[in-house]
């Protein structure tokens, strides 16, 4: 009497190869996705040069740093004045010198103005007094704090070129960057602000 022996089904070699290929494909896709997941980073474009807007920018920056986020700040146009450490007229054209004299900055005699109700600096002076009374950090303190906590400070090379602001006039932490430098950080950030 003939006995039929049923063979235990073995996966064909072809099936294993297909599975391996699929796993490899999925791993590659996962690696690609992981690269696209945003970092714990906040990127802020600082375009404005007024006291109130700068306060907002630096309070958000230091707050984000306190939450454990990385922070990139990109200073362009009027915002460049926020990270000035000195004014130098050396080698500047007449118009560049005029711009230096007329723009407010931490190193200018009048300091920074308000975006509203500045009244030639009287508004800013009153605001600073009120902030002092209420024990709010000064803009200078917040900028130094952001640096100490590890914010990355970029200065816009193009604005510097147009306005005649040299790297020596900016704080030591500032690195020159272009729009792609900013975008590289912004694309990997969870939050990007333009102030």
């Amino acid at each position: 009497m003939a006995v039929t022996v049923q063979a235990f089904p073995q996966p064909a070699e072809a099936d294993v190869a297909t599975l391996q290929a699929r796993v490899e494909q999925l791993e590659a896709q996962l690696a690609e996705l992981a690269e696209r997941v945003p970092e714990d980073r906040v990127t802020i474009v600082v375009f404005s040069g007024e006291l109130d807007r700068l306060l907002a920018a630096f309070i958000i920056a230091t707050g984000a740093l306190a939450l454990g986020q990385e922070v990139s700040m990109f200073f362009t146009f009027w915002g460049l004045n926020a990270i000035r450490k000195k004014r130098s007229f050396e080698g500047k054209s007449l118009m560049e010198k005029m711009l230096d004299v007329m723009t407010a900055s931490p190193v200018a005699p009048a300091g920074m103005g308000l975006s509203r109700m500045n009244f030639f600096g009287i508004g800013a002076a009153m605001m600073k007094q009120m902030m002092r009374q209420k024990n709010v950090e000064t803009l200078d303190d917040l900028i130094t704090l952001a640096e100490e906590m590890g914010a990355t400070i970029y200065s816009c090379a193009m604005s510097q070129h147009v306005m005649g602001i040299s790297q020596e006039e900016l704080r030591d932490s500032a690195e020159e960057a272009g729009v792609a430098g900013f975008l590289a950080d912004a694309l990997k950030s969870r939050v990007t602000l333009f102030i």
Partner: protein, 84 residues
């Protein structure tokens, strides 16, 4: 509710946003994982700030928050634990 035990205390009364959080972070980074920091603040915003911190940061946990009246002022007390 019984008062949670803590290892270190930080007084940021009188300081405003974002300083209570900034100082708390600086202090807790110098502490050991598992230790609890007690923070005394007068900033009303600090209540939500500390909740946000605990939600966002991976290494801190909010143990408790309470309000205490002291000479007509409200003191916001936060207990934060460093987890790693």
């Amino acid at each position: 509710m019984s008062t949670p035990s803590f290892d270190q205390e930080l007084d940021v009364r009188g300081l405003n946003c974002p300083m209570p959080l900034v100082k708390a972070r600086q202090t807790i980074l110098k502490m050991q994982p598992g230790q609890v920091l007690k923070v005394l603040a007068t900033d009303r915003g600090s209540v939500k700030d500390f909740q946000g911190w605990a939600r966002t940061a991976k290494n801190v946990q909010l143990v408790a928050q309470e309000e205490v009246q002291e000479n007509g002022n409200t003191i916001f007390v936060h207990y934060v634990k460093r987890t790693s």
